[in-house]
Subunit: 197 residues, 4 copies
DNA sequence: GATGAATGAGCCTTCATTCAT
DNA sequence: TATGAATGAAGGCTCATTCAT
């Protein structure tokens, strides 16, 4: 059956992407050797090229898959939240927990990101959508008088910055507190800054 | 005379480091070719190896020099500031303006950083000292009751995160406001969060 | 029944050979990819190896089949001709028309031939028999006084050379006259050279 | 001095071209491995790429150099000849002797020629100029009544065909007569065909 | 010191051939 | 018998590093 074939093929691609993520996270794009990816995936080097046209394509597949996953998760959690404070918490916590689960991906994002000329806005902007949604929420809250009026988009990006920095510190082992605690600090800080006096 | 020799030698190293910074900023570490660095420095490829043992060492030299410069500038401006709010402003503004002047270095920091296994704490922590000094200032201010009590070090890092993010956005052309304005937003936001209620 | 099996098998071989001829004519031996041959033959790559041991063997099969065909046709037409002049015409015309019909094969012969170390005399000499028969005819005619005495074999090869060159030019699009006309020129030229003064 | 550098460099290129000619003559373009060329030239593989951008470029360099040399020699000898018969002899003999001296080049020309997509008219037509000059001479002679009127260009190509075939047979060891003798036969044959009755 | 030619290890990619289904 | 996924040897090319001048 065709479907079975496709599933097997999809499974192989996933295996390769998984191996690649691990390798790229450790060595970066340039340092990540296709042979090593193949090895880690438990297949021969040539087989890799049955599923991907080039090393670059593998790299892109890793980013595409993980960014999409991360974005979707973040958006869903934000939508599920009711008020602004909860939305900020959702944004931060979603990202923090996702980073915990996908350390390798976040290491790639933090590390080599930007160098490889994959740096199309496509990749640089993967956070844009969640951030803009956060900005909308801020704007709404301000209009409703729940918080003081602020330049919503800029503020939203600052929240994203703090989240990113927190993730980075956690990845580097600089923090041994649970994600929730880090998130809470961040949310408290932000909320204090926004609260109508 | 030995001294003269040394000065010439030091000068050459600086030329190479300058060329390397420009190349690495454009191409990343792996993509930055020694030949190109030599070219841009106006010397022969072989000559590079009279002053540096390897490409890695050049890369490290770039980071060392720029990080040191950046750190010193930031600390000085912070020390010159009187109260906490001014110190926060000094920290942020120093970094923003420095990034403006040293775009290439900051591009390196933002982009490839982490991948090359130079990622010893030495490099990851170049900001630590300014941040800790900021933390001290926060702590002092809290003790004096100028702001509410907060986990000073964590908050200091959040300020650093926001600064970093702002720099990144500026480098990517996402912001066309003058650095001072971006800094003011950031300082205002932070101060609002810290101010004793 | 065995025979039926064999016929089917023979049919498959022929299909593959046809596909291979087309591919090799376009890309040469080295550039001709087994996958493409299989594709063009409408079968799977693995199947090719059920009928041929290797790519080389396919190549040889193409040559064997086409050379045999070409040789047989040429000999038959020569035998059907009565006198020397007609035999020369038969030789030349047979080859020219055959080249027209089997462009791909002749392109292979003209192009890559020699490189692949298939260049055993077996292939280099496929023309030998027709040429020798031509030589015999020349010798007979000389003995009968119809033409002046000449080193028959050498002359026969010269006729073959001119034919080959004419074919090549036609394949390259250098000639838009019908084959018969080219043949006539060649025959006329040769006959003028041989005719008893 | 710059000139010395250039001479050395030119010398290296020549060495590589020589090695490449030998390798390509034996193995063809696809079969000729850069490593082997380097070996035969007594240098490292990487060094080859200091002088040529790619394998293709090396191949082209071989053809360019040899074709030019061969063409020039042929033309010169033809120009030195007085009457048509001498010119035909010059054409044929020049090519035969040249083939004797440059066996490897002629083997390349005979063997793989055409396959590699270098088959621009540039290469296919390297003989055009000498042949056209021969055609002119034929035309002149016809006008002067020294020979019967013939389609000069076509005839000139036939002479080229016979020469090419003779060379090929000599390269294959099919002929042990000295070049002059083969040439004389060819010239005699041609002259007999052209001579006014 | 300065040069830049030479080196060769290393990596991506291709493709003939094999083999499990 | 047919398939096509898997294999891995092979080869073109790059580039950090060395070294003779």
């Amino acid at each position: 059956m065709k479907t079975k074939q496709k599933m097997v093929s999809e499974f192989r691609r996933a295996e390769i992407v998984d191996a690649a993520r691990s390798v790229f996270a450790r060595k970066g794009f340039a340092g990540g050797i296709v042979d090593e990816i193949a090895n880690e995936a438990g297949i021969a080097k040539g087989t890799v090229y049955l599923y991907f046209r080039s090393k670059k394509e593998i790299y892109r597949a890793v980013l595409d898959r993980d960014m999409e996953f991360s974005k979707k998760g973040t958006l869903e959690r934000m939508d599920a939240a009711g008020n602004l404070k909860d939305k900020i918490r959702a944004f931060t916590l979603a990202r923090l927990e996702n980073a915990e689960a996908k350390k390798e991906f976040f290491r790639i994002m933090d590390a080599e990101f930007g160098s490889v000329s994959f740096t199309r806005s496509q990749y640089r902007d993967w956070l844009r959508e969640p951030v803009l949604r956060l900005a909308s929420a801020i704007e709404d809250a301000a209009r409703r008088g729940e918080i003081r009026p602020v330049p919503s988009e800029k503020i939203a990006w600052l929240v994203a910055d703090m989240t990113r920095g927190t993730i980075r510190r956690r990845l580097l082992g600089r923090s041994d507190t649970p994600p929730g605690e880090d998130a809470e600090l961040l949310v408290g800080f932000t909320w204090a800054a926004l609260a109508a006096e």
